[in-house]
Symmetry: C2
Subunit: 191 residues, 2 copies
DNA sequence: ATAGGCATGTAAGCAGTTACATGATTTA
DNA sequence: TAAATCATGTAACTGCTTACATGCCTAT
């Protein structure tokens, strides 16, 4: 059970409803964990049943009421035990990289287009994360914040997200350029 | 079904047995797809039943016989259709980053230790991938190989793996240092 | 002798995806 | 008046993990 802990960690940032969590996990919680809405609603139900989070009804006007959740003491204990246990290895599954691996034997055109799209998505995420960094550190510069800020966890993971998206963007563009040049070369040589 | 295509792509590099594929997918096929042995044996059975790969018994002396697989024409068609379809978004799940996200509210000591371990693993993978790059490009330099080499797919994905592992290593070390310094500061201030 | 590598699986259970379902309010 | 956002789920299915199982050969 792994999503549990990701949800508990996310709820340390404040009270969130299932819907709000879907927004957070849709981007991937600064890019290290993705979860679908259905997963989140199911997990929140289980977490509440297990007493690791507590729900609270928030009455809203102009929009549907919502239930927001906070981590209980039992939840904190669960998180502490999790943090002390050996971590599972980083899991990556990249559909696009599978295409690149096989690209010599296939039509490279769609793959090149997909690489450009992925590069743009990565650039957009990078911009988003960089804004989030500014918001998190307030008026402090990065160095000072990392030394003296009270809540550096999300900042550190967001820095990781930035690194990743920057690399994804650059790798996609580099790869697309390589494949385009090879395609151009082939067209000149073999008609 | 996503593992299918990863297996088909891996089998473009040559004939492999289930066991050999477990070695390849254990590292993560240059770090973009991990699969367990059980998954691979099951998937190979299904791929063969669907006629996308063909198995061939190889008699060995001194060790058990093995069945090696090649991609059939139907398999190539499947791969081509896959490559032209829109890719699924990059999936990442990082157990260690969950810990870092929550680290303000927990004992940072085990997390710092885990970050150092992860950094070492990443460095080891990086070294492995860099050796693989040298092997793949032979006596050509990178630029020439990327322009003229026949099989650049695996090289390009391996370059991506290098980028990722380098970032993971650096992020882990940076994060560990930040957390250690904060821990030292806290110990001086609050006893 | 014992550990490690080669080689291939089965079975049970848990996690994750896809499709479906509902309904109110705000914005274009 | 249609589309988007807020808000929360259920059900069926597929994919993945964990545990178990077997057996031979090689190197220490």
């Amino acid at each position: 059970m792994a999503l549990r802990h990701a949800v508990l960690a996310a709820l340390l940032d404040g009270e969130y409803s299932g819907y709000q969590l879907t927004k957070i996990f849709d981007v991937g919680v600064s890019n290290f964990w993705y979860a679908s809405p259905q997963q989140l609603y199911a997990e929140l139900t289980r977490l509440e049943a297990d007493g690791l989070v507590a729900g609270r009804e928030v009455v809203q006007q102009g929009r549907p009421n919502k239930r927001v959740f906070t981590v209980t003491e039992a939840g904190m204990a669960e998180l502490a035990a999790f943090a002390a246990a050996p971590p599972k290895p980083l899991l990556i599954r990249d559909d696009l990289a599978v295409r690149v691996h096989a690209v010599d034997r296939l039509d490279p055109a769609p793959v090149i287009a997909q690489l450009h799209e992925r590069a743009e998505e990565a650039a957009a995420k990078l911009a988003l994360f960089e804004k989030m960094l500014v918001r998190l550190r307030g008026d402090l510069d990065e160095e000072t914040f990392l030394r003296q800020g009270e809540r550096v966890g999300p900042y550190l993971t967001c820095l990781g997200g930035c690194r990743l998206e920057r690399e994804v963007r650059d790798w996609c563009l580099r790869t697309a350029r390589t494949l385009s040049e090879r395609a151009a070369y082939t067209r000149r040589e073999l008609p």
